[in-house]
């Protein structure tokens, strides 16, 4: 935790004004573009005739959270090489989406992932839809709490550890904005804030990275040399193992984390929902290409920012402000551009976590309203107006749930929560997506087993890991029930999720699905109903 206020008061005031201005403008635009008619397709998918660039920006905005901007740059600043590897994983994750998932899912999808699975397993779609909704709700809530807790952590950079009232106020205000955007604006509103955020994020990161390089006369080698000199660890700063080195379990932990990040992205509910938005799969392809390029550029810039923070400020200054390094970008901005740049980047960080939270809330709300309410509870007989009301209400409920959980768990580590969400996505939802799209024999029993099994396995392993007990930074440092040595469950839970899906299918002796269902699904997946 932070002991002293990192940054001066004037930039906090400036940040406040800037953030309010941006939020008010975007909220206004979001309400103007909000769905005017009671059409669920508009609420779920938004404007479907956007250009590939704008779709790509929205995807990039949905994906890059404050954890990338603050957390991973901090990781680079403190651990050098290991942090850079982490940033690489963040980018590589998009390849899986581009090459395997995006177009087949788009051709077979309608509003939610549940629709795709229902097209493939029409007879037993209801239990699968329930399981999908449960997993999506778990992922979205965890990730939403991570964003809200992140807003408190960000405030801490300015005021020191905030009082209970300040903390509550911060979480409630951000949470209220999230609910407003998601429930009133729907997907069109979320798209507005994603695009604005993505443009600001890309411009801000690349501009600051350029400034850092300018300070070193555009010579990357000088930057590396200076960063290694001032890192306090010398050359080993540019060698692997500073953070995840030493013991084998440490190294496996890192592999586990990378596995969850690389595979988890393709199964994050808000990213999946974004993939369904473009009208044709040609537009989708170009959109994902844009997203890959933009995310790559931001991650590249973030690496330069992290190295620059160490090179210009030194490890001691960063670590004395915040042990986790989350303050490094803000300190760097203060060193380079004074309180104006600091305020700009802080505002950017707030906007980033707000936008990601909106995307998540919307994805969870659409899954609850469409999969759970409309298709399971009302068995497909709900009217559009009814479903829309449920979607708006569940957006509010999820937002309030997130606020309450964030107030209880405000001391939690943002990165830990986010990584757990990635692990659940990769081990519960990804096997179902892959099997649904590419395995002919896949049955509903396999889907149920891998969804519930992957979810349970990753949560249980996290509970019995050093994240929850025994380690000094855990929730219960005094007790020790951590028999699972790794902090990230991915390396065990992801193969297990795939294995359970296979096992459930092989052992399924019930009545088989219609073989025409799979044929129709495959024709639709490859040929498509549209261009």
């Amino acid at each position: 935790m932070v002991t002293i206020a990192a940054i001066d008061d004037s930039s906090l005031q400036l940040t406040f004004v800037l953030f309010l201005t941006v939020v008010v403008i975007t909220l206004f635009t979001a309400l103007l573009t909000a769905p005017q008619r009671d059409e669920i397709s508009e609420f779920y998918l938004g404007n479907r005739v956007m250009s590939p660039l704008r779709n790509g920006l929205a995807m990039c905005g949905d994906y890059l959270s404050a954890a990338t901007l603050l957390g991973s740059t901090g990781l680079v600043a403190l651990t050098g090489y290991d942090g850079l590897m982490y940033l690489g994983g963040t980018t590589v994750a998009w390849m899986m989406v581009l090459l395997l998932i995006a177009e087949p899912l788009h051709r077979t999808g309608k509003f939610t992932l549940g629709d795709t699975v229902a097209l493939r397993l029409p007879r037993q779609q209801r239990p699968v839809r329930v399981a999908l909704a449960v997993c999506i709700l778990a992922i979205a809530t965890l990730y939403l709490v991570a964003q809200l807790v992140g807003s408190v952590a960000l405030l801490t950079q300015f005021t020191g550890v905030p009082s209970g009232t300040t903390r509550t106020l911060c979480v409630v205000v951000i949470g209220a904005f999230v609910i407003l955007y998601a429930s009133l604006g729907g997907m069109p509103g979320a798209t507005v804030i994603q695009i604005i955020k993505a443009v600001m994020l890309i411009a801000g990161v690349l501009f600051t990275a350029g400034w850092v390089l300018y300070r070193f006369d555009w010579n990357p080698n000088a930057l590396l040399e200076r960063a290694a000199d001032r890192s306090g660890t010398g050359l080993s700063f540019l060698e692997p193992g500073l953070r995840y080195g030493g013991t084998v379990s440490n190294k496996l932990d890192f592999l586990s984390l990378e596995l969850a990040i690389v595979l988890g992205l393709a199964a994050l509910p808000h990213v999946l929902m974004r993939l369904l938005a473009p009208r044709s799969s040609g537009v989708l392809r170009s959109s994902v290409l844009w997203a890959v390029g933009l995310v790559g550029a931001v991650c590249f810039g973030a690496g330069i920012l992290g190295l620059g923070a160490t090179a210009l400020l030194g490890r001691d200054a960063i670590e004395s402000t915040d042990r986790t390094g989350n303050a490094s970008v803000l300190l760097l901005a203060h060193e380079l551009g004074g309180s104006v740049l600091t305020a700009l980047l802080t505002c950017l960080a707030y906007l980033t976590l707000l936008a990601v939270a909106v995307g998540l809330t919307l994805a969870a709300a659409s899954s609850l309203a469409h999969d759970l309410y409309s298709e399971v509870i009302r068995k497909g007989r709900a009217s559009e107006t009814e479903e829309l009301t449920v979607a708006r209400l569940s957006g509010a409920v999820i937002g309030i749930l997130g606020i309450l959980l964030a107030l209880v768990a405000w001391g939690a580590n943002t990165a830990t929560l986010a990584f757990l969400a990635f692990a659940i996505a990769a081990s519960a939802i990804l096997p179902t997506i892959i099997y649904t799209l590419f395995w002919r024999r896949f049955t509903a029993k396999g889907a149920l087993l891998s969804l519930y099994g992957g979810l349970l396995c990753s949560v249980l392993l996290a509970v019995f890991s050093p994240v929850v007990s025994s380690a000094p930074a855990s929730f219960y440092p005094e007790v020790d029930f951590a028999w699972f040595p790794l902090q990230n469950p991915g390396i065990v839970s992801i193969p297990l999720g795939f294995l359970l899906g296979w096992l459930g299918t092989v052992l399924d002796k019930g009545p088989a699905e219609d073989s025409t269902a799979h044929e129709e699904f495959e024709v639709r997946m490859l040929v498509g109903a549209d261009d």
């Binding site: 980018t91 590589v92 490859l526 040929v527």
Partner: protein, 149 residues
Amino acid sequence: MPEFPPRRDDTPTFPLPHIEQTPPARISDHPEFHSLRRAQRRFGTRATVLSVGGFLLYVLLSSFVPAVMNQPLFGRLTIGLTLGLGQFVIMGVTAWCYVRHMRTRVDPLARGLRSRQHENDNRRARSAAAPPQGAGQPLQHGTRGFRTW
């Protein structure tokens, strides 16, 4: 079982003039459909294994054989850092290959099958409409003659 309405149904519904033989009744039996599936699946799997597996291999190498990765190449740039930058290059190349492959190998096949599917649908709709009208023989004759021969 919910029937998903087709996304957009405003494509022209005229039959294609140049079809030499009667195509299989179902698109999924068509040989072109199988080659389409093979083309898409094979490339997707290979490219994913190359880019994602390559990255995971890089992480493993960095963790378990740091001695190799720490060889200096160029100033402060080690083999490990260069390979890290190389990941971005591999991603760019893979994405470019993917787009080229889809544009040249997959899209034309899919487009052809799609128009064939439309044509099949039209024929089915026409033959379904025929039986109720008992004296539809000359009418049906005329349309069939136009299409196949």
